[in-house]
Subunit: 433 residues, 2 copies
């Protein structure tokens, strides 16, 4: 088999066989296919696309390039959730305890943050003592003993994806529906869950800017999951402003705990977390339909079982559960700075990407992979799209290390004020199943 | 400037600036741009194409990556010809002497053969003593003293093109109109001529299979030449059968000499050579229009001046001019094998690519770059498309080293016989100027 023929075939818009894709992925990972040939094929895939069969073959070959987590010894339908990444997105911290409290085993591998988006694992790290890097055995033990496991990716998961992603990153070939699909789904399948709910973000603050692109990505991932016999459903959700009021690790733990305690139940963040949890309950077989699942979610919030689960699970994983009720035990910022509106207006849009970058610059996120985080810093967002603001009214509370590190004008520029009310779009834009 | 941005820009179908193209070509040549980024950009160019301005910038940057030949000290409009490559194409050996005999300085750099197509330089090499690798000074001296210079590419011409071509060759990115254009035109512009006639082949035996593709390539090269202020015209010519009766180096010298001596004047090869020569005379200012130029061509054939020029020029370049009249002085084959038709029919098509490969296998061409040639071997083709053949009638005379090296059935398969007459298409399919 010659790599040249694969590139030429895809350049002409024809399908690659499963054998050809296996040859490529293996060769890219072991170095026998040179990078210049892989990158030409990656660009040809950006150009000509891939069928579901091809995308599944790419997914499975990347999955099989490294370690896999076998959860089959643990009873029940293991459910997972994946989000394509947003600013202030702490839904995992909320829905994990809810789903587990409802009796469905919830097994998730989460990432660290990079650039303007935070990572779930970093948020847990704000809880003193919390262990966020579990071995595969520890991950299984957490799942078996508590019903919930959530950790940074462990072992050597999908090294072929890591290799190809590094190449895509320098060759402008990241943006391709089949390549994104295979990258995400290979890691999800290696994680060993039986069912998966996808949260595909759409909008200015997301990777996919248009409903068309978001829908295509969601459909591609659902197609691949189904072709592999997985239970899978995707929600397409709006990402036009930060999700919830908190950006930054300690702050996001606080907001998650408040929602688990029944506060802010009407917020987009709570509604989205509850809906994702309900979808997971349906896929996990704990509810016959969505309304029944939503009732179960409401119950474990109202009777405190979800929050109680979170305390127990935190303790199991070495974390200081008292910090979930006494927030002074969480990492604290050096300075608290209030930023007020400089004029009147209706909030037309909020630049969540810009706010994500501002939080990163405070130390809440990483500019490059090895940066150390300041877990106590972050941004509290006091206003949302669709609200009226008067000059002098509080827009943000910034939790910073030092006062001089806060460029006020960039915070103000992230809020787009208009003279007229802009109706807010619903957070749920569509579902694919 | 970041290479990533160039790839991303082209991936989106937007134009690269002249500065960006200069950055890339320089970086590809000196190694500061890694191959995986160049190959991703090459594939993005195959996908999205390039404007004339971009193609010209690519051409000029590749031209300027190495040595250039400065012919400005030699008086007159220096004319050049380029063919995209065919089987049995020896037009250069015929039109060079004609154009020079008409007083127009003719300066051409020619290639060596590779694969199924032969190289002009290899054909000259069949003339004993002939010097086919001239230094730039020797090239200029031949042009100044005789009015004709034709040699293998000399000096370090377009190293950036050589580097990028090697990359294209392994990444299936050879077939791209702007990339082919820049590769050809950079070398032609580095060669220093003022005017260029292009022979763009079209058909089964050519690189461009369809009239549409051939026309697009011709138009692209003419656009780039004109944008650079060059006098340029392209002919699109049919390549559905070998050009002339000879394939192989000694044989092609013999056929060329016969045409210069006024034989086979009605053949496609003679007509094409005369037409290309006439176009060169018009661009070179030796004739006001094509009919006047064609009259001049006919004169130097009829009065023997073109053939006499070829003898003089051969002597000037160290070759044995007597071999042009006594063909027994040319390299000879070991065996002569006649291949006869095994059935009746009308010749519908001849597979010139297959015949080129058969000639290569005899030793007339190179499978890989460093192969040594057998200059005496080759194929004499006795029949053309559109002719009737009877079983037992002579199709080929094969000049081989040994009898066993000739797979008769493959020669027979290269002739497609039909029960009905197939009218032959004209050799000239169109012109672009």
């Amino acid at each position: 088999m010659r790599m040249y023929d694969l590139i030429y075939t895809k350049k002409l818009g024809q399908a690659l066989s499963a054998e050809q894709i296996a040859f490529w992925v293996k060769g890219a990972a072991d170095g026998s296919v040179p990078d210049e040939q892989s990158s030409a094929l990656l660009m040809a895939i950006c150009w000509q696309g891939m069928s579901t069969e091809e995308t599944l073959a790419l997914t499975l070959n990347m999955r099989d390039s490294g370690d896999r987590v076998d959860l089959s010894a643990i009873p029940g339908i293991k459910v997972d959730k994946h989000s394509t990444g947003g600013v202030g997105d702490k839904t995992t911290l909320i829905l994990g305890p809810i789903v587990a409290a409802c009796g469905v085993p919830c097994a998730m591998f989460s990432g660290r943050g990079l650039g303007h988006t935070g990572g779930t694992v970093d948020k847990y790290a704000a809880i003193p003592g919390m262990k966020v890097e579990l071995s595969i055995d520890e991950f299984k033990e957490s799942l078996r003993s508590t019903g919930f496991a959530n950790s940074a990716q462990t072992g050597d998961i999908c090294p072929a994806d890591r290799k190809l992603y590094a190449l895509r990153d320098v060759t402008a070939t990241v943006e391709s529906i089949p390549l994104i699909t295979a990258s995400i789904m290979s890691k999800k399948l290696a994680g060993g869950s039986d069912a998966l709910v996808l949260d595909v973000k759409c909008g200015g603050g997301a990777f996919m800017k248009t409903l068309e692109d978001s829908t295509a990505l969601a459909q591609s991932m659902v197609n691949v999951g189904k072709a592999h016999g997985m239970k899978i459903k995707a929600l397409i959700t709006r990402m036009e402003e930060p999700l919830g009021w908190a950006i930054g690790n300690s702050l996001e733990v606080i907001e998650s705990v408040e929602i688990l305690k029944g506060l802010h139940g009407e917020s987009d963040l709570a509604q989205m977390s509850f809906r994702l949890a309900a979808e997971m309950l349906v896929l996990g077989g704990a509810a016959t339909d969505l309304p029944a699942a939503q009732t179960k979610v409401a119950e474990v919030i109202a009777n405190g079982k979800a929050m109680e689960f979170f305390r127990t699970w935190t303790t199991f994983n070495g974390g200081d559960a008292k910090a979930l009720d006494d927030f002074s035990r969480l990492p604290q910022p050096g300075q608290v700075i209030e930023i007020k509106a400089d004029r009147d207006g209706w909030i037309h849009a909020m630049d969540s990407r810009a706010l994500g970058i501002l939080a990163m610059e405070l130390g809440a996120g990483r500019q490059s992979k090895d940066d150390l985080l300041d877990l106590g810093v972050g941004i509290r967002v006091h206003k949302n799209v669709g609200q009226a603001v008067r000059a002098g009214e509080l827009l943000y509370t910034v939790y910073a290390k030092t006062r001089t590190s806060v460029p006020i004008h960039r915070y103000l520029e992230a809020v787009h004020l208009e003279g007229l009310l802009t109706p807010k779009n619903p957070w749920l834009l569509g579902t694919i199943e």
